[in-house]
Amino acid sequence: MHKPGMVSIWFFIGMILLVYGIIITGAGIYDLFNPPPHPLVLANLHSGVWWGGFLLLVGLIYSIKFRPSKTK
């Protein structure tokens, strides 16, 4: 589905995952240094940091691989 001039859907997906990854990793790191008064179950695993990092990495790869200048 690449009509002339159309940006790939995978680029949109990459961008939103990249932005989400940055926000979630940032929030996870903030929680790491400022633990909430009532921690969640398994808070010691710091899932925000590694899950956010994973989204950031996937988003970065897709954003670069499907960037508009490359797919046109």
Partner: protein, 557 residues
């Protein structure tokens, strides 16, 4: 419900993530409007989808909020038996669509499933199926809407009206602007966001429960076996016998839904060529087989680790306790901090919106091509039909909002969905499969089979409603729960359709064989795909999926 009784609160980071999601899906709609000029673009996305895009969209259109929250709730209630709706209740039918049925839909170049019935049978059969499909679609859309709004109310304290209007109007805007192209684009995005937002729950849940063995020891063997407890109706939490699952679910409901429900078939018709159209359901089947990881497993984990007891919707309405359908949001709240919680809620909203977009885009196509054009205005410029399609999208959303409140009358949302399927999908499957596989089937046979099958389903439903003791005849057991009843009612409905179709066909005149070319097995030449390597052939991948399907059933026997 006011904000003080909600189960969890969102932080500003969570709200930012949800707001970004709404901005992106609306942005995609506005961006794609410039690429949606013709009827082919609006209703079939230009028939230019790759197998992967069509496959993910095919799956996402089925992943409504009911699929996420409803089936997670069903897993909490019925245990791993709920996974039957993902494996035997989906995979064989999806493979059958890709390998056997897709060529007939694709070669006929129909815009819709009712359109195929017009070509194969006649105008009355198309009209009957189009009207029943339109009716079912807006009801399903309303069910999806209510499911999401209700959970958002209980979990987040959001006003039910706010959830309904905010999400449904967003869908209305992006589908009206970009038609199926926009719906598919967003469905692929939503599909991946659902996985990104929901996959963390089973990972953390399994760590807390102590792995699979720890989970089984907490909830018991009765909830973790798929087949071994189905020898008797009373041995399993669903009150169902294996015959109901195999013949009612796997044969009638599943084949009916995955091969004739235009909501999902429309996505595959948008594929760029026949091989992509055949591969799309096979690709989707791989992901479908994995969906229990993010839906069924969290439901089972909720049963094991949540401190509170969840109750049926009818009890929750009286006591204010969280219902089965709230299990997924509760598990999100258990493990997800700021940011992750927003992503999880986004996944639930994305699930709702992909399901609703699927419903309204299919509704707009069927209404425009199968009701409006043949009945009201046969000859009009292409642009006129695109305009009608856009208005139908808005109309479909508004009617869906109205029907959302009907759902409140039913104790369990998922039970209601299965009841709807048995009304419309079960007989439709009989009509399509006989028409596609048996050239002797006549237009009269198809029409009367469809009509009597639908009526049989309605009569059986009303019979049990008025006299609950009739359950022993309809579902073969007085212990059958609502889901089990639906499976057997679908089976009777399909059987009625099949018998009437065959008998009427034998006494009426069939269409000439020349008119059946491209529509019926045995008189259609399937285009040869040329010399392509084995690993690119749909049959090869379908075989691999089939083997994995058998293995997972044995593992969880």
């Amino acid at each position: 419900m006011n904000a003080t009784t909600r189960l969890l609160s969102l932080s500003p980071v969570d709200i930012l993530i949800i707001a970004l999601y709404f901005a992106v899906v609306l942005g995609i709609g506005f961006y794609l409007k410039r690429f949606t000029k013709t009827g082919e673009d609006f209703f079939l996305a230009g028939r230019d989808m790759t197998a992967w895009i069509a496959g993910l969209s095919f799956l996402a259109a089925n992943l409504g909020s009911l699929e996420l929250m409803g089936w997670a709730g069903s897993a909490y209630q019925y245990g791993i038996l709920a996974a039957h709706w993902y494996w035997i209740g989906a995979i064989p039918a999806m493979l059958f669509l890709g390998v056997i049925m897709m060529p007939f839909y694709y070669i006929s170049k129909t815009h819709s499933v009712p359109g195929y019935l017009k070509l194969r049978y006649n105008e009355p059969t198309r009209a009957l199926s189009a009207i029943s499909f339109g009716f079912m679609t807006v009801l399903m859309s309303g069910i999806n809407m209510f499911a999401m709004a209700k959970v958002m109310q209980v979990v987040l304290g959001w006003d039910i009206g706010f959830s309904i209007w905010m999400s449904s109007l967003t869908v209305a805007v992006y589908v009206t602007l970009g038609g199926l192209l926009s719906a598919i684009f967003n469905e692929v995005l939503q599909c991946l966001l659902i996985w990104a937002g929901a996959l963390l729950i089973p990972i953390l849940g399994m760590i807390e429960a102590g792995g699979w063995n720890g989970l089984v020891s907490k909830i018991g063997e009765r909830y973790t076996h798929m087949w071994s407890t189905m020898g008797n109706f009373s041995d399993n939490p669903m009150g169902i016998h294996w015959t109901g699952i195999v013949f009612g679910l796997a044969w009638v409901i599943s084949f009916g839904y995955w091969t004739t429900d235009f909501l999902v078939v429309q996505r595959v018709l948008a594929a760029r060529d026949l091989r992509s159209a055949r591969m799309a359901p096979i690709i989707a089947s791989v992901f479908k087989m994995a969906v229990p990881i993010i839906v069924i497993l969290p439901g089972l984990l909720g049963l094991a680790v949540l401190p509170m007891k969840l109750v049926p919707e009818s009890v929750a309405a009286v006591t204010g306790q969280p219902s089965y359908n709230a299990v997924l949001p509760l598990m999100l709240a258990r493990y997800c901090g700021p940011g992750l919680l927003g992503l999880g809620i986004t996944a639930l909203i994305a699930g709702f919106m992909s399901g609703m977009a699927g419903n309204v885009s299919a509704f707009a196509t069927v209404w425009t091509y199968d009701i409006y054009r043949p009945m009201f205005r046969k000859e009009a410029p292409d642009a006129h039909y695109v305009t009608v399609g856009r208005w139908c999208t808005i109309l479909g959303v508004l009617v869906s909002i109205g029907t959302a409140y009907l759902v409140m009358q039913f104790a369990s949302i998922m039970d209601y969905v299965q009841a709807l399927f048995s009304f419309f999908i079960a007989p439709l499957f009989g009509t399509v499969i006989f028409g596609m596989m048996w050239k002797r089937t006549t237009p009269q046979g198809g029409f009367w089979g469809l009509l009597t099958g639908t009526l049989m389903s309605l009569v059986l439903y009303l019979w049990v409603k008025m006299d609950p003791s009739a359950l022993r005849y309809v579902a073969l057991s007085p212990h059958a729960k609502a889901l089990a009843e639906d499976m057997y009612r679908a089976l009777w409905s399909w059987t009625t359709c099949a018998v009437v179709t065959v008998v009427v066909s034998l006494f009426t005149k069939p269409k000439p064989v020349a008119e059946l070319e491209g529509l019926v097995y045995g008189v259609t030449k399937i285009p040869h795909e040329g010399p392509i390597p084995m690993w690119k052939q749909p049959v090869f991948w379908a075989s691999i999926v089939a083997v994995v399907f058998v293995i997972v059933n044995i593992i969880f026997w």
